[in-house]
Symmetry: C2
């Protein structure tokens, strides 16, 4: 199963593509879409949208994973983040892909095994798990982390279903 | 010139289509896209997106106008609103249409002639200006108001350009 993780932001949107083969996770690609802060909001959203469309066209993921957000510094930054997140979610559903949301706690638990792990620990573990030569760009690393979280969660649901099927 | 005004919201998104012929404004259509509050955020954004795409396909507007937002009750409601606004802006740019943003002050000034007008005054003036049989649904009325604001503003820019051209 191929998974696209997205870390949306109005300035930088990170993405990470991984492949789950049995219990193995394979890194396919990661990167970041940068938008100019002096550009119109609508144009920036189009850049994010078009960039993510290209990633989906290139790698044909079967699922999209995005971190859910419950806190933001203030209403204005929440509003800006919301625009970028809306664009990211929309790209997923418009391509007919299931979109999954995970909390920061779930992502940290899945990647580091500890829900209160520091940002640097998560980045380091993403590097190790993905067998990267160096730590990925911050937003791309966060995107890989949420993709890994979905891979674990999807694996768990599958095993649960199989176990329940056997019991029947 | 045909203008699509949008009042985005994660629960209800209003739209209004008007036509500017010289100094006359003609009402074409207005309505609201309702999303189920128990549905996934991604699915709700798709509903908004698809609904607005249909309006654009039906009426072929040449410009999109949206109210800009600077305040929100709190970070969470700002985040939700941001998602819906992001979807609305994206529909505009994805159709190659210019997207214009106007503040609530600009909208009220354009419709009522008074920046601190009450919501009911704006709704009443929209009904009169658009020659509607009754006051439109709240969000649809707000969408018509921002479309009217753009029509006035576009008219002003045109007259300014003509005046400057004569002077040269």
């Amino acid at each position: 199963m191929r998974i696209l993780g997205i870390d949306p932001g109005s300035r930088i949107t990170g993405y990470g593509v991984i492949e789950k083969q049995g219990n193995r996770l394979i890194h396919i690609d990661n990167g970041a879409i940068f938008t100019r802060s002096d550009a119109d909001l609508a144009d920036r959203l189009k850049l994010i949208h078009d960039g993510l469309c290209r990633v989906i066209a290139d790698y044909a993921p079967e699922a999209v994973a995005v971190e859910s957000i419950f806190v933001a510094k203030n209403a204005l930054s929440a509003l800006k983040l919301g625009h970028a997140r809306g664009a990211a979610l929309l790209v997923g559903v418009n391509h007919g892909l299931p979109v999954h949301e995970y909390s920061a706690l779930q992502v940290k638990n899945a990647v580091v095994g500890y829900g209160k792990a520091a940002k640097q620990q998560v980045q380091q573990m993403v590097k190790v798990l993905m067998n990267l030569p160096e730590i990925a760009q911050e937003d791309a690393s966060d995107a890989l982390a949420v993709a890994i979280c979905h891979a674990h969660s999807a694996g768990l649901s599958n095993r649960l279903e199989q176990a329940l099927a056997k019991k029947r």
